[in-house]
């Protein structure tokens, strides 16, 4: 995503302190959790996964700019997240769909649509829409707020659970788009003039914006920040540098 071309400042770790100090402050080996690659002066290419010394600027295998941590991760995540939260307000207050039935116009918001479906008795659909358009975006935004706050406040508890939260946030991101697609399909399909026509409302685009910006926000968050600055006596108690990844067959 972010292939920044000024990559010179991530490498003030381990051996190479000759670089000018970065905007993240001067990161030292002790800033990273023991056992992590960064604490041993190593970094991993985010594209191909090849290990390299922290002082290296480009991956030898795929030529990507190497970054010890995603650049300005928290700032970017906050900025995108706030954009999404602001867009979420019109997305819920404005109508997402206008139904024109025999000359009579009917506006429906996201929540109104869910309530209507529930009352009509089609509660499975109401549940799907409720999960996809209300719970998932709200949950995503709350999860990202929690993650950002916990990282900047350097909380040390539940690193595994927070990483899991992040991964779920990343996975479910696209699914909130369902409601926008439903509106688009209904609009395309139901154009019978005065008899019955459906038009998209302002909320459709705002909601698409919410989905896109939360996806970008999740993308710019770096889960490794959760693990940095963890005390050595955490669950990863083995002092050894390297361990075999646990195998589990399917």
């Amino acid at each position: 995503m972010s292939d920044d071309h000024s990559n010179s400042d991530h490498d003030s770790t381990a051996h190479h302190d000759s670089d000018h100090h970065s905007n993240n402050g001067s990161l030292r080996v002790s800033d990273y959790s023991p056992g992590s690659a960064a604490a041993q002066g190593l970094q991993c290419c985010h594209h191909c996964g090849l290990l390299a010394p922290s002082s290296q600027h480009r991956c030898k295998r795929c030529h990507t700019h190497l970054q010890l941590r995603k650049k300005y991760s928290l700032q970017r995540t906050w900025a995108l997240l706030i954009t999404a939260i602001l867009l979420y307000i019109p997305a819920n207050l404005q109508p997402i769909m206008r139904t024109n039935l025999l000359g009579q116009e009917d506006l429906s918001t996201i929540l109104g649509g869910v309530v209507l479906l529930w009352e009509m008795g089609s509660w499975p659909i109401a549940t799907v829409i409720f999960i996809a358009s209300v719970m998932v975006p709200l949950g995503k935004m709350l999860a990202l707020i929690w993650l950002c706050l916990s990282v900047s406040g350097s909380h040390k508890r539940w690193p595994r659970q927070r990483t899991m939260t992040y991964r779920i946030t990343e996975l479910v991101g696209r699914w909130s788009m369902v409601d926008v697609f439903v509106v688009a399909i209904l609009v395309a399909l139901i154009q019978l003039g005065q008899l019955m026509s459906i038009y998209p409302g302002n909320a459709a685009l705002a909601f698409a914006g919410v989905v896109i910006f939360t996806m970008l926000a999740a993308n710019s968050f770096d889960p490794r920040l959760i693990w940095d600055k963890l005390p050595p006596d955490d669950d990863s108690s083995h002092p050894s540098h390297t361990r075999k990844a646990g195998d589990s067959s399917i």
Partner: protein, 207 residues
């Protein structure tokens, strides 16, 4: 640390733990011992499966553009639409941004991803590792989260149930082609383990 160290070790993308890569037999996967993130998955015949699913998906996608997608019948009036019309109809009603978003997420991006996948995999199976192949793989990783074909399919199903109360719905050939397109595309991406792919491109760390 010699060159071998950099090949046999990696860092978890999720928590940055330094890990020695285990030798996986087909069907096994490696998880990060600290955070549980999947490091590598040795899928049995992964590249071959992935390539065949990708080609099938492309064929189904071409098919899904050719025929009527859905038809809608209410009070003697019938309206038919093709897959592309779902976007062009929006554009015609002056909702251009919405139309562009819709069409981008369900057609050009998935096509691009599948094409890149086919190109990269074909070259890998022929045993040629080129500079371009690495580019394809990088673009693929970047574009993958933005393909929303399966989300669109759920969207279709939800809207069908929404309107089935007031009208008769006729599913066209394109609809079924689209269902198979979605299934093949999902399978194709699921069968690809990127770390294995990168390793197959050669542990030679030359540029």
């Amino acid at each position: 640390m010699n060159d071998l160290f950099f090949i046999t070790h990696t860092a978890c993308h999720s928590c940055d733990l330094l890990i020695r890569l285990p030798q996986l037999t087909p069907g096994e996967k490696a998880l990060c011992p600290r955070c549980g993130h999947m490091i590598e998955h040795n899928i049995t015949h992964g590249p071959a499966l992935s390539l065949s699913f990708a080609i099938s998906a492309l064929i189904f996608m071409v098919l899904s553009l050719q025929f009527p997608f859905l038809a809608f019948e209410a009070q003697g009036q019938t309206q038919q639409m093709t897959l592309l019309q779902s976007a062009t109809e929006l554009a015609a009603l002056n909702y251009l941004p919405l139309a562009l978003l819709l069409v981008l997420f369900i057609l050009p991006l998935p096509t691009l991803v599948l094409t890149l996948l086919c190109l990269a995999l074909t070259k890998q199976m022929l045993g040629v590792a080129t500079h371009w192949q690495k580019r394809y793989l990088q673009w693929l990783t970047m574009l993958e989260p933005w393909c929303m074909v399966e989300v669109f399919l759920i969207g279709i199903l939800v809207s069908l149930i929404k309107i089935s109360a007031m009208a008769d719905i006729i599913l066209g050939i394109s609809f079924w082609a689209y269902v198979f397109f979605t299934l093949c595309m999902t399978a194709s991406l699921a069968c690809l383990d990127k770390r294995q792919f990168w390793q197959s491109l050669g542990d030679r760390t030359d540029v």
